[in-house]
């Protein structure tokens, strides 16, 4: 920045930079964060590219509100319904946090599907991003699992009968069905075992899987770059050299060159030969 700073501004700057520099020197985390935030993206990104971040935000809202709800919720057949009533009606702002968790769950699933639709319609699942599509499919399945297990926890009539039907649908799978049904119920009938294991799945097992796979999902996005929309030719992280044989990619990964020494997209002069 060419603008000269006065002494006071310089002091302030040093005050901010000192701890950051200390951290950077010992961990490299500041540089890593900069690398993550200031990546090159295609010139023609648009609002549809924000659906992934929106989904992540919805997940984080579920994570935070869920952790707080777990401080008041009691996963036993005698107390579950009462504790939900208490959260909703008695505890300060409990209605808000429970409402965020309940409606946020639908928002999360809707955003997941919109994000998936964007990836599909932009062709962003194609080489070399097939693996990230597969990770996304597992994430979608886990998210639906969160919806299923979370639906039982209010322990009211809706929760009970919806879970009866959902578990029996699972029990209709060929060969494995009878095992799967009893495993999900924790026995022959829905009862306290079912509630306890759905609680464990809902707040420990599935969120753990979701977190790990989201990190993998993001890593692959950063490694492979953001897909350009289908109506543009310029790819993420590519810089065209006027006199060179093809585009040169600036980024984490150097893709292997093609037979003619160029990368994915041929330069204009090359195509005209």
């Amino acid at each position: 920045m060419a603008r000269t700073r006065n002494k006071r501004q310089q002091q302030l700057m040093a005050l901010v930079m000192a701890p950051l520099n200390w951290l950077e020197e010992r961990s490299g985390l500041v540089g890593a964060l900069k690398y993550f935030l200031f990546r090159k993206v295609p010139a023609e990104t648009n609002w549809f590219h924000t659906l992934g971040s929106a989904t992540l935000t919805a997940f984080l809202v579920q994570l935070v509100t869920g952790v707080i709800l777990a401080m008041y919720y009691k996963p036993s057949p005698e107390e579950a319904f009462g504790s939900i009533q208490k959260i909703t009606n008695d505890l300060t702002l409990g209605w808000l946090v429970r409402g965020m968790h309940k409606w946020g769950a639908s928002v999360f699933i809707i955003l997941l599907f919109l994000h998936m639709g964007r990836v599909f319609l932009f062709g962003a699942y194609k080489y070399p991003r097939e693996l990230n599509w597969l990770v996304g499919v597992i994430l979608l399945t886990l998210a639906l699992g969160e919806g299923l297990t979370g639906y039982l926890l209010p322990w009211d009539e809706t929760a009970y009968w919806a879970t009866v039907v959902a578990i029996n649908i699972n029990a209709n799978a060929p060969i494995l069905g009878p095992f799967l049904g009893d495993f999900l119920r924790g026995g022959a009938e829905i009862g306290e075992e079912t509630l306890a294991r759905f609680y464990s799945l809902h707040m420990l097992v599935i969120p753990g899987g979701l977190l790990g796979l989201i990190l993998l999902h993001l890593y692959l996005v950063i490694r492979l770059g953001v897909t350009e929309p289908p109506w543009t030719r310029a790819a993420a992280g590519y810089e065209f050299e006027e006199n060179g044989r093809g585009p040169v990619r600036k980024g984490l990964v150097e893709p292997r060159p093609r037979g003619n020494g160029s990368l994915g997209t041929p330069s204009r002069s090359e195509a005209e030969v």
């Binding site: 039907v165 009878p178 090359e270 195509a271 030969v273």
Partner: protein, 317 residues
Amino acid sequence: VADELERPGGEPVDHEAEPHLPSPTIWPFAFAAGVGLLLVGLIINWILAAIGAVIALIFGFLWIREATREVRARPLEEPEPEPVSELAVPEEGEEEPERYPRSVFLEMSTLGVGALIGGIVTLPALGFMIAPAFVDQGYDEVDLGPLANFPEAQYVIATFYSAEDEGSVGRRTAFIRNNGMKDDVPSFTIISNRCAHLGCPTQPSGLPGKAQEVKTSARPVTVTPVASVSGFQCPCHGGAYDAEGNRTAGPPVRALDRYHFLIKDGNLVLATPYSVGNVEGTGADAVIEAYPLADPGQHVDGPEQIFYPPKAWIPDS
């Protein structure tokens, strides 16, 4: 594909440097059609399913052949002998004894001990996660009170508790009809209200009378007589049954489940439930195809039963 066309012509293509994209092929579509036909055939009839299976197999094979052609076409090259250290070069014509360097031994033993510890920690936890759901299954007997509450040739809705400590979640309902005496043995038709489609509670179609609390040895029971029951309906997906529990309409795959019963000290006692394929005849003369209790929606008879092995972990009673 567009890039292929734009490449200057005549240049030899180096396949090693290409992204490995599958070539366009129509086999997956035919394969999917075969799978679809197979699934439809499972519902409609077996010949259709067999045709679908054959189509799926043939086109699946063709698809795999297409997808792996590039890999298979590549000539198998002799791998270049890797440059090895002077020590490991075997002399011509001389048998080299197998060598296990210390580093390899340490590596293997570390991995082995790690796997052993991992197994010792993981396997019991896995067993604890899975096994309790399958052991100690079974049903307690439920005392439904004196026989006088069950008038002959009339259905009674009995509401009772299957487990004592789970609140209203343990509440169950059975439809009970006293069929009178058959060969000096009392006969009861006891039908579970659990729909054989996905387990919703069915309702009898009839005129319900006055509900009545019955004092029994342990758990409270409510009995409600219902006049002129013509059948049972499920509110969830429209399953319908006749007065013997046979399916008459809708998605259920078998008749309603029933209960065995005992008579102890003049009281009607529910024993284990069982599943029913079909009922011929009515009341005391009914011939019931009984099977071990299965979850709702699972076929107990017909060719589809091969998909639902009986639960071997339920104890006999």
